[in-house]
Structure formats: C-alpha cells, structure tokens
C-alpha cells in the first residue's frame, strides 16, 4: 500500500490539479467571454498556490509575487482582453475540427504523456511535491492542444497565457526561491505579450471582420 503524501503536499497537488482542470474547462468553453473568465479563475488558483507555499514554507518574497500575480493576471490581463472582445463584438467560437468530447480525450492522452514524462525525471523539490511538476507539464501540453485545435485568436491568446501560468507553477516547484526581480521580469514579459496579442486581435478583426483564424489561408488578390 502506497503511503499518503503529507496534508500540505496533498492540498498543493489538488490546487495544482485545479490549474490543469481549468485548462480542460477552456477546451470546453465556447463563449469567448467565459474563456477569459476561466483564465482569470486559473490565475486565482495559481495565486492561491503561491500563497499556500509562502505561508507553509515561510518564503516572504512569494507574498509579493502572489500580490503581483493577482493584480496582473486576475485583474489587468482579463480586463484588457475583455475590453478588446467588447470592441470586437464577437461571441462564439469553437473548434472547427473536433467535438468537445474528442478534444477532451486527446487532451487526456496528451496529459498522460506529460505526467509520465515528468514523473520519470525524479525531481525533488524542497517547496512543492514533484507531482506538481508533472501536473504543470501536463497543463502546458493541454494548453498546446487548445492552441492547436481552436481556430480563434482569443482561444489561442488564452492558451498562450495559460501556458505561462503552467510554467509559473513549474517554476514554483523547481525554483520557488527565485530572486523576485527575475519573477517580476517574467510577469512583464506577459504584459508585453498581452499588448502584442491585443494589437494582433485588433488588426485581424479590422481586416477580416472576425476573430477566427480560419480565414487566414485564403489567398488575397
């Protein structure tokens, strides 16, 4: 019989798994607005995970990081994208290729790969259980599935932002004591990405009157 992990590790793993589950929720969401809301929720979960580590492992810098994450990823980024969406006046998007259940099955298979690949690395971390790393890798891969299978700019942007969230969880496992200045630099990277994607969304919508990327393979002339 396998020994249970400690209560702290168990809770941390559950919170990390919530990040993965929100990724799956994004695969399901057809409304672009709910896509953005799920991203905000995912960021909230990531903030909670940061706070849990900060409180249990007594790493003061993580409190500051949690506050920054909250302000940036839960408030500013979703607000910016929602405003862009509001201007674009497009509501629905879905996968043109596959149904939700099939996408979920593909994502399950992909995350299985992530789990077993990361599990065979035998990483040991003082801050978080190594399982969280496996979950983060799986979440990155599921976000890629989202980006590949959805053909609209918003889903792809949200997929990209949630890759950042998952990678952030991975860094919490591997280097929770990372100097704060580096973490802040990463967060500003995200801000730059938001601006770039915002410009892309506007230009794309201005040219094609849609947020779908399916139109992009049409020849012009």
């Amino acid at each position: 019989m396998a020994l249970a992990p400690s209560t702290y590790a168990g809770v941390a793993d559950i919170v990390a798994t919530l990040v993965l589950l929100t990724e799956f929720a994004m695969l399901r969401a057809a409304l672009l607005r709910s896509q953005v809301r799920i991203y905000a929720f995912q960021s909230l979960v990531v903030t909670a995970l940061t706070l849990e580590i900060a409180a249990v492992r007594h790493i003061g810098a993580l409190y500051a990081l949690a506050a920054l994450t909250f302000v940036l990823k839960v408030v500013i980024v979703p607000a910016l994208v929602s405003r862009l969406l509001h201007d674009a006046d497009v509501d629905l998007a879905g996968s043109p290729v596959l149904g939700v259940a099939s996408m979920a099955l593909i994502a399950i298979a992909v995350s299985a790969f992530g789990f077993f690949a990361a599990g065979s690395l035998h990483v040991h971390s003082p801050t978080l259980p190594a399982t969280a790393l496996a979950i983060a890798v799986a979440a990155v891969l599921v976000a890629f599935v989202l980006i590949v299978l959805r053909a609209d700019v918003v889903s792809q942007a949200m997929g990209f932002f949630s890759v950042e969230n998952s990678v952030y969880v991975a860094t919490l496992v591997l280097a929770a004591g990372l100097p704060l200045i580096l973490e802040v630099a990463f967060l500003f990277d995200l801000l730059v990405a938001v601006v770039v994607i915002g410009v892309i969304m506007r230009v794309h919508h201005g040219r094609t009157r849609t947020l779908s990327t399916e139109e992009l393979d049409r020849l012009k002339g």
Partner: protein, 321 residues
C-alpha cells in the same frame, strides 16, 4: 462474543432491511426538500410508502406482444438490489460473513445486471418510448462504465485491494488520506457518476413526464401494478445503495458500528439514513441550480467525470497519491 453484541448474520440482515425499508423514506424526504426549494409544498415525506402500497394492490396489465421477460425483469432487478447491500459497508466498519463474496467490481456487476434486466423488460414491452428509454439507458451506461472502472483503479491503487471496506478504513485512518488527491478526485468522479446513475439533473429530470427527454424513467413506462411497484422500490434502493457507497466508502465513513453492539448498530442505521438524506438534499440543490443538458451534451458531462477519475490515477502514478 460480548453481551449485547448482535450476531454478524443479524447485522447482515439489518443491512438489507435498512436499505429495503429506508430507501423510500430517503426518496420521500429528498423530494419533499426539493419541492420546498422550488417553492412548492411538495408531497408528504412518507408518500413513497403510500405509492408502493397502492401499486401493490393494483392489477398488472401486460401487452399481448410481451413475453415472460417483461414481468421477470423487475423481480430480477429487485433481487440484485437486495444482494448489493451485503457487499458494501452499510452499518459496520468490518466485513460481515458474506461481505467478501464480491469486491467493488462484483457489486458493480450486480448493479449492471439489475440495470440490464430492467432495460430488457422495457424492450420487451413493445412500446416505443420504453424501448427508447432502454436503449438510451444502455448507451449512457456504457459511457459511465469507464469512469467507474477508473474509480475502482484509484481505490485499488490507494488500498492495494478492491474491497470497499479497505477504502473506508483508509479514509478514516488520517487527515492526509482525506486530502489525498487520488481520493478527492475519485470521490468527485463517483459523485458525478451517482448524479448520472440516479437520473438527476444535469443528465435527466427525474420528475419529468416528457418522454422525449427520458432515459432511466422511460424504461418503466409500460409497467403497472406490483411490477411497477418493484421497479419504483428498486430504483429508490439503487439510489440509497449508491448514496451509501459514496458516503460510507468515499466521503464520510464515520458513524459506522465498529463493535457490533446493539446500540452502535442502531446508531449506525440512524447515522446512515441521516447522512443519506443530507446527501440527497445536496443532490436536490444541484437539481435546482443547474439546467438539464441536451441529450447530445451528456457525453461532455460524462467526459468530465471520466477526466477526474483518470486524473486520480495519473496523480497516483506521478507519486502524488
């Protein structure tokens, strides 16, 4: 055996009796609460008993096209629902003499046999809506099955056995076992399975009378009299059995009798009924908060349950338990 200790065979009989006699009460209280939540006055809490008594007094009408299977189905299903309580921890923390006759899979097979015989008898009625219900019940049953399998895998990985008693003992043993991700996600997946299996929203409106949306309810449309009584009683028992598994194996295996003394057994019966009613109220709340899914969206719901069960197993393999 100390003084005041009930013989194991006696407790075993009490397990069956608790499910048999308590099931209509749980259904009645839950539908009463549900009605109250919707602002209706609702039926009396003991209404299911009156319904059963009335149906047992009525005559049975059988269509000319149907064979003996039509009437045998409800009886077989009822028998199955009487066997399952012997296998699961209803009242005690320790296994009773017949408790090791079958493991979780064994119980699952017997429940599946019950569902199969009801579906068969629905098909045998020759009526289109009963056949529609039967075929749908089997289709969605097949989609629920993988989730149940993965929940069983999770239990097996957590306890190295597939005995429900061992899982309950593991959950009781410490806090870290409760917040173990494998356990939490398997329990949530099983919750969703119970939601689907007892014909609750978002899968089915169990009080609905519109045949086109029916799944489980549709199968029994053609039955009447004692056969319908057995079916109704059986579905109330199935509901209580599933509640019992969810409560006493996964979520709250507390309040069970550990010694077998008379007082503790009585307490265990009351605790089980109380917990089942509480759980039923949660289901009634879910009923009121969500809307029914379109038939073709049910696969998404079941995919979500499957996802949780699979994650429970994955996380275990990633050494996170």
């Amino acid at each position: 055996m100390g003084p005041g200790v009930v013989a194991p065979q006696g407790i075993q009989a009490l397990q069956d009796a608790t499910i048999l006699l308590g099931a209509p009460l749980v259904s009645g209280v839950v539908s009463h609460v549900e009605a109250r939540l919707q602002g209706r006055r609702g039926p009396r809490m003991l209404q299911p008993y009156y319904d059963l008594a009335k149906l047992f007094r009525k005559e049975t009408v059988v269509t000319e096209e149907s064979s003996w299977v039509f009437l045998a189905g409800p009886v077989v299903a009822f028998g199955c629902y009487l066997i399952v309580p012997l296998l699961i921890p209803v009242l005690t923390t320790y296994g009773l003499p017949l408790g090791y006759m079958g493991d979780i899979l064994g119980g699952g097979f017997i429940l599946a046999l019950a569902g199969f015989s009801v579906a068969l008898s629905g098909t045998e009625s020759g009526a289109p809506y009963a056949q529609l219900g039967s075929s749908r019940a089997m289709t969605f049953g097949a989609l629920i099955e993988p989730t149940i399998l993965f929940v069983v895998f999770a239990v097996a990985l957590l306890t190295s056995t597939d005995l429900p008693y061992a899982m309950a003992a593991t959950v009781r043993s410490s806090t870290s076992e409760i917040v173990r991700p494998g356990h939490v996600f398997a329990a949530i997946a099983f919750f969703l399975v119970v939601l689907a299996d007892t014909g609750r929203i978002p899968v089915e409106t169990h009080t609905g009378t519109l045949e086109l949306g029916m799944i489980d309810e549709g199968r029994t449309l053609e039955h009447s009299g004692p056969a319908l009584a057995l079916l109704k009683w059986g579905s109330a028992m199935k509901q209580l059995i599933l509640y019992t598994i969810l409560i006493n194996v996964f979520v709250a295996p507390w309040g069970l009798s550990g010694t077998g003394s008379g007082g503790s057994v009585v307490l265990a019966i009351l605790a089980l009924l109380g917990k089942a009613i509480l759980l039923g109220c949660i289901f009634a709340l879910v009923d009121n908060l969500f809307s029914k899914l379109r038939l073709f969206k049910i696969t998404e719901f079941l995919a979500a349950a499957f996802l949780l069960a699979v994650l429970a197993v994955f996380i275990f393999y990633a050494r996170g338990g």
